[in-house]
C-alpha cells in the first residue's frame, strides 16, 4: 500500500517523477518518433490509452492472479491493449500509423507501462492506480511534446505539419536544420532538455537547503 495522497499519485508522474525526463524510461519512442509534433502526439495518446487501460485492468484482477504468472498476465493485458490501439490507428489515422511504423507494436515492451503495473497497479486500489496511470501518461505526453516541438520547429520550420492545423512558424528563407528530424537530432534534443531540467533541480535543492539551514550553508560556503 502506498502512503501517498491521491493528489500525489496523480501529479507525481507528470513532473517530479516524469517517466522520460526524470526516470529515463521509455527513451526508445521518445527518441525515435518525435521527429514531428503529430507523430509525438499520436504516440503519446496511444501510450496513454494502453497505460490507463492496463493499469485499470491489472488493478481490478490483482487478487485473482497468482504471483507466479503475474508478469505473463500483465504482458498479455498490455499486448491486447496495444494491438487494439494499433488496429484503431491503422483504421483512422493511416498516415501517422505508417510514420510510427513498428513503434506502436513496441509499446508492449515500453518499460514505463510494465513498471507502473509492477510497482503500483498490482499493489494499490483501482482508483489510485487509475490516477497514477493518468498522471504518468500525461507526463509521457508532455515529454513527447517537448521533444517533438523542438525537433519539428528546428528541423522543418513548421508545427503540426501534415495535419489540418499545420503552419509554418519560421518564415522566410529559413533552411531547416535537417539533422533535428534525423536520429542524431533526437539525442541532441533530449540531451538539452535533460541539461535544463537537472539545472533547475539542482537550483531547487540548493534553495531548499538554504531555506532550512541558512547559517549552516553560509558557513559551509565560507569554509570552502
Amino acid at each position: 500500500m502506498s502512503n501517498t495522497t491521491p493528489q500525489q499519485d496523480f501529479f507525481r508522474g507528470i513532473w517530479r517523477e516524469n517517466p522520460v525526463l526524470i526516470q529515463m524510461l521509455g527513451l526508445c519512442p521518445a527518441l525515435a518518433v518525435t521527429n514531428s509534433v503529430a507523430n509525438a502526439v499520436v504516440m503519446g495518446i496511444a501510450t496513454f490509452f494502453v497505460l490507463t487501460g492496463s493499469s485499470l485492468l491489472v488493478s481490478l484482477v490483482k487478487k485473482l492472479v497468482p504471483g507466479e504468472v503475474r508478469i505473463s498476465t500483465y504482458i498479455l493485458i498490455i499486448a491486447t491493449f496495444v494491438t487494439v490501439a494499433d488496429m484503431t490507428l491503422e483504421a483512422f489515422v493511416p498516415d501517422i500509423h505508417k510514420a510510427l511504423g513498428a513503434f506502436v507494436a513496441l509499446i508492449v515492451v515500453n518499460c514505463i507501462i510494465l513498471a507502473r503495473q509492477e510497482a503500483f497497479a498490482s499493489k494499490n486500489p483501482v482508483g489510485r492506480s487509475l490516477l497514477d496511470a493518468v498522471g504518468t501518461g500525461i507526463g509521457f505526453m508532455i515529454a513527447m511534446l517537448m521533444m517533438g516541438t523542438v525537433r519539428e520547429v528546428l528541423g522543418n520550420g513548421t508545427i503540426l505539419d501534415g495535419t489540418r492545423f499545420g503552419m509554418k512558424v519560421i518564415p522566410g528563407n529559413y533552411e531547416p536544420w535537417v539533422i533535428f528530424v534525423l536520429p542524431p537530432g533526437g539525442f541532441l534534443t533530449l540531451g538539452f532538455w535533460l541539461l535544463i531540467i537537472s539545472w533547475f533541480q539542482k537550483r531547487r535543492t540548493e534553495r531548499a537547503r538554504i531555506r532550512e539551514w541558512p547559517e549552516g550553508v553560509a558557513a559551509q560556503k565560507e569554509a570552502a
Binding site: 521527429n35 497468482p66 504468472v69 484503431t88 505508417k98
Partner: protein, 225 residues
C-alpha cells in the same frame, strides 16, 4: 551441518490455477482482438482502396474510368483467373477517356531504396512510350533528403512527359534528351531508385502491355462477358 534445502515451488498455488489464469486471460484477449479486428478491417481495406484509386486518378490525369488487369501466366487479363486471390496478383490499371480512347496504364511496382522498400505507381502511355506521372505510395527515405522523391514538385513533375527508358542525370547537367530526369541533389540513391523501379517495371511489363495492345478484340470480348 545442515544439508542445503532444495528449492521447492510454493505449494499454495496449484498448477491448474496458473494454467487457468493464463488460459482465461488469453481467451478473453483473443475475443477482444477478434472483435476489434472485425470492426477495423473494413475501414483499413477501404482506406487502402481509396489511396490506390486516388493515386491512379493522379498518375493517369483523371481518367473517365479504368480497368483492372491482372498479370497471370505472363499475360494481362481482365478476368481474374479462377481461384486466384486478387490481392496476391500484380495488377495494372488501364485508363480511358470519356470517349473510350485509351489514356495509358497505371503500373505499381516496388524495389529497395536507401532505407526500405520504395513503392510507387506511374502512368505510362504505351503508344508513345511516354510517362504520364509518378506518385510514391510508400517509402521510408531519409526525412529532408530522400523523402524529396515524394515531396519535391520539381522532381515529380519531370515524370510527366519523359520518354522511357529513363536516364538519371545530375541537376543542371541535362542535355535536353527527352529520356532525362534530373536527380535530386543530396538524394541521388533515392532518385536512382525511382528511375530504376520504373525502368525495371517497364522492362518486365512492356511485352505484356504490347501483347494486350495488339489484341483488343480479346479484350473487348472479355468486356462483353
Amino acid at each position: 551441518m545442515t544439508a542445503p534445502v532444495p528449492l521447492q515451488p510454493k505449494p499454495d498455488v496449484p498448477a491448474w490455477r496458473l494454467l487457468l489464469t493464463l488460459g482465461l486471460a488469453g481467451a478473453l484477449a483473443g475475443f477482444l482482438l477478434v472483435f476489434v479486428y472485425q470492426i477495423t478491417l473494413p475501414i483499413i481495406e477501404r482506406n487502402k482502396a481509396e489511396r490506390l484509386a486516388a493515386a491512379i486518378e493522379e498518375v493517369l490525369k483523371a481518367p473517365d474510368h479504368y480497368d483492372t488487369l491482372y498479370v497471370s501466366n505472363g499475360a494481362l487479363t481482365r478476368q481474374l483467373p479462377p481461384g486466384a486471390n486478387p490481392a496476391k496478383l500484380d495488377a495494372v490499371y488501364l485508363g480511358y477517356h470519356a470517349d473510350g480512347t485509351r489514356i495509358g496504364y497505371a503500373i505499381a511496382s516496388q524495389e529497395p531504396g536507401f532505407q526500405d522498400q520504395v513503392r510507387l505507381i506511374f502512368g505510362y502511355d504505351d503508344a508513345t512510350s511516354t510517362l504520364l506521372g509518378m506518385k510514391v505510395l510508400e517509402s521510408k527515405e531519409t526525412p529532408g533528403l530522400g523523402d524529396k522523391i515524394e515531396k519535391s514538385e520539381a522532381f515529380i513533375s519531370q515524370f510527366d512527359g519523359v520518354e522511357a527508358p529513363l536516364k538519371g542525370v545530375k541537376a543542371r547537367e541535362g542535355t535536353g534528351d527527352p529520356h532525362e530526369v534530373d536527380m535530386i541533389t543530396g538524394a541521388t540513391i533515392s532518385s536512382r531508385t525511382v528511375i530504376r523501379i520504373i525502368n525495371d517495371a517497364l522492362e518486365r511489363m512492356g511485352p505484356m502491355l504490347k501483347a494486350y495492345e495488339t489484341a483488343p478484340a480479346t479484350a473487348a470480348g472479355e468486356a462483353g462477358q
